[in-house]
């Protein structure tokens, strides 16, 4: 029985006896760690938001450790990846995407420069060993992740050096060799990784042999064989396929004579872009890229944009490469077996009856240009030799995210038909290693991360200070050579400043907004991390479910869920 006080004064803070939590009738706030859009878009599986968070706290090495948990080669991917993370970055819709690749590259370079240790332990002497075919980015990633997961890795590479297309098909202007070797060698030097060079599958090894000898076999052969190219049956006699041309140039430093004239490159990937620029730099009168995709712009659907590193496209245009988009070569005009001209027709991807997009050429848009050389760059496929029985057509088509194509056999990287980037190969390597590790310890395949993606409309952008993307110096066109890296580095202070631009989409910023703005004092701050990784807990005894914290959470980390009885 409450006894009245004289004058009916009440004791301080006794309102705590009255639990307003039962006022919540429709919704309650919860912490939801959604996937940042960058993370969701990253083929390598990096959580950029997570390592940017560490950078925001000036923890540079921790950021790198967090990064290499997924991708052991940030110095490489920071240079060569078309960074879909930046395309996906929610900051694009505010004041420009974060310069993620620049910071990634800086972290990779810092690790090499300062000799930071990879977060791996030497595998046990009796640890299972995984055979890996191909020392390209997919194979290297797979080997690294095997070691990270406590296994040993033995790599078999056909060429005398590791690196795969990183070494053979990417010009040093994009990926200087010291940057590549710096990172690659550190990985190969990790205890538990053995590299066997000049070991070609089919010649020196067989898949079955490897299966018998090793705990698992990871196939990362890449795509070596150019796809067949012809225009309505016609093939020029002096055909030079783009990738081959690029490799030759990188090996010997020379191009065919015809490359001095007007050149048409037909295709739409980074190889096409590289060869265009090399030919132009090597003295071609003109270089024109014909691509069926579109150039980035308001009228272009995201899935229709030309699949190249955006800055490469920009640089190519700076260097005078002409680009004819939404077009294809519809006819070759031959003088004997030599090409003297091409007919070009406009096209676009249009949805058909079944809703699937297909290319539609528009009659009446044909035009003819005279050329001295046509270089097709329409992609490569797996050299089928030694993979009999595993290939499905030109590629591997595993039906699972881990690349499993047979018992203890996994396919990773470009050899999988729907890949095509270094980052995807690195991601494949990790997933395959994780699946192997699970399988070997008798567990089911790892769970896929199916958390929702935090989009821009889930954020409250009022809380973010406007700041423009870091400007990174580039070599002027006149100073660009075949060796010097075109894009410059960013400094530590620039990288840390860029990190401050990260919106922390879907993850707690520890900004105190919920704690500051709860009218009911029902958000409690913790000095230690709370169970859900934030610094706050909801006191549902008093939370009335007004939704203010949900609305004012900058990152979308607080979301409303229906209140249940």
């Amino acid at each position: 029985m409450v006894q009245l006080t004289r004058g009916t004064w009440a004791q301080a803070g006794t309102s705590l006896d009255f639990k307003t939590g039962n006022w919540r009738s429709t919704q309650r706030p919860v912490h939801v760690h959604a996937k940042a859009a960058c993370h969701a878009a990253c083929p390598a599986g990096e959580d950029q938001q997570a390592w940017f968070a560490l950078l925001q706290e000036q923890k540079v090495q921790d950021a790198w450790v967090s990064l290499v948990h997924a991708n052991p080669m940030p110095g490489v991917t920071g240079r060569v990846c078309p960074h879909p993370c930046e395309t996906a970055c929610n900051r694009t819709g505010v004041d420009g995407a974060l310069a993620i690749h620049n910071v990634e590259r800086w972290l990779g370079d810092e690790a090499v420069r300062l000799g930071w240790d990879y977060p791996v332990e030497p595998p046990a002497a009796n640890a299972p060993t995984v055979a890996i075919v191909g020392a390209g980015p997919g194979g290297i990633s797979a080997a690294y992740h095997c070691v990270r997961l406590g296994m040993k890795a033995e790599i078999f590479e056909a060429l005398p050096e590791a690196g795969g297309l990183l070494r053979s098909a990417i010009p040093p202007t994009r990926l200087p060799r010291n940057a590549l070797d710096g990172e690659l060698n550190r990985i190969l030097d990790l205890p538990g990784i053995t590299l066997n060079t000049r070991q070609r599958l089919g010649r020196d090894l067989t898949i079955d042999g490897l299966r018998a000898q090793f705990a698992a076999v990871l196939l990362s052969p890449g795509c070596e064989l150019p796809k067949h190219w012809s225009v309505k049956g016609a093939v020029p006699a002096d055909l030079h396929e783009g990738l081959q041309l690029l490799r030759d140039f990188m090996d010997h430093g020379a191009l065919p004579d015809a490359a001095k004239g007007d050149v048409i490159v037909h295709g739409g990937g980074n190889t096409a872009m590289d060869i265009c620029r090399i030919m132009k730099r090597a003295g071609a009168k003109s270089v024109t890229l014909i691509t069926a995709s579109g150039l980035p712009g308001p009228g272009t659907a995201p899935d229709d944009i030309i699949n190249v590193v955006p800055r490469e496209l920009e640089e190519a245009q700076e260097e005078g490469i002409e680009i004819i988009d939404h077009a294809t070569v519809s006819r070759l005009i031959m003088k004997g077996s030599r090409v003297t001209g091409v007919e070009i027709v406009s096209l676009k991807k249009e949805a058909g009856k079944d809703g699937r997009k297909r290319r539609v050429e528009f009659e009446g848009t044909e035009r003819v240009v005279s050329v001295d050389m046509v270089v097709p760059c329409v992609g490569e496929q797996v050299e089928p030799e030694a993979f009999e029985g595993y290939l499905d057509g030109a590629y591997f088509w595993p039906d699972n995210p881990f690349g499993r194509i047979a018992d203890r056999v996994f396919a990773i990287g470009d050899a999988r038909g729907n890949r095509g980037t270094v980052a995807a190969a690195i991601g494949d390597g990790r997933l395959a290693a994780e699946a192997v590790a699970a399988e070997l310890s008798g567990e089911a395949d790892p769970f896929a991360d199916e958390r929702p993606v935090m989009e821009l409309d889930g954020l409250n952008t009022a809380y973010y200070a406007g700041s423009s993307r870091a400007r990174v110096a580039k070599l002027p066109v006149s100073e660009r050579t075949f060796e010097a890296e075109i894009e410059g580095p960013i400094s530590r202070s620039e990288a840390l400043a860029e990190a401050q631009r990260c919106l922390s989409c879907g993850n707690c910023l520890a900004c105190d907004n919920c704690w500051t703005m709860c009218p009911d004092n029902a958000v409690i701050k913790t000095t230690e991390l709370a169970m859900d990784g934030s610094h706050y807990v909801f006191d549902y005894d008093y939370c009335k479910g007004c939704g203010l914290c949900v609305q004012e959470c900058p990152t979308g980390y607080i979301q409303s869920v229906p209140e249940t009885a």
């Binding site: 004791q11 913790t526 609305q551």
Partner: protein
Amino acid sequence: MAPRSDTSKRLSELRMKHGRPPASPLEPKAEKAETLREAQPRFRGLESGHRACQGCGEALAARLVMESAGPDVMVANATGCLEVFSTPWPQSAWRVPWIHSLFENSAAVASGMEAAMKAKGKNTKVLSFGGDGGTYDIGFQALSGMLERHHNVLYVTYDNEAYMNTGIQRSSSTPHAATTTTSPAGKERMGKRHLKKDLLSIIAAHHIPYAASASVAYPADLQRKVRYAMGVEGPTFLVIHSPCPLGWRHDSALTVEVARRAVQCGLFPLVELERGALTNIMPIREPRPVADYLELQGRFAHLFRKDDYRAQEELDHLQALADHNIETYGLKGEGLDPMDSTGMSHVRRGGPLAGRS
């Protein structure tokens, strides 16, 4: 008169020096902290369990004020929502000495409390709280008297622009054209016919050391103003724009958003006045149209009726009033002030950006 104790003197000096109250020896000690709630790194002057509506702007504002002002304070509180929802006997949400007397006398009661503190040689600062009804209207005389007599009291008015406690009746603080239960919109009327009283100018005319407006949308700014006022010896005045989801008819989650837009459109300018002179403003980088602010609120819904020619007229009128504020107070500022109505909101990992070096 009793000699001032050493402790009081020390507190007073620190307060003058830092512009904010240092922790009082009376502050509940952390050693008692057995729960997370007790271990909170802030003074819980207005505790949970109060009975404010969901998303109450006034509760938020009062909580923020208490955090910055407490614990060495005592409060006189006018009748109104804040009083009713915080102290239904036998409970109280306050953790400072607090008294509610009447609707119109909180400034006078606070005057008496302050006189008592002076007489007893104590430095406990007295706060006086009232809503807009209790301040702009019925308690205005007592407030004016308190300011004129130069009592060392911080008066805070939680401005939710109508008599909410009695069920949303118009006050002299209700904005022009807003509907309330005593200024409904109809065939003959478009909500309140008169203007929102320019109270701050009247307060400023008392020539007091410090008067300011603040908004729940800008907690860091609000708390800075409270701390500044706490350090001033003499009467200080703070009007805090505190949205009322019930009376303004907006979603309870939008309290801060609504308040922010009020500032960003210029209808509720955030200014500081010392001795009656304008000394600081929160600039608005790019003023938003008033419609952005009004459209969130049911009390202005009649201004968005396409079939009524008067709607556009009143919208234009409110826009003109906002423009007038922007002009009068120079709210566009000069250059890019990071502490403008955009910058003040900014956060970064670990807390608000404002006030950090």
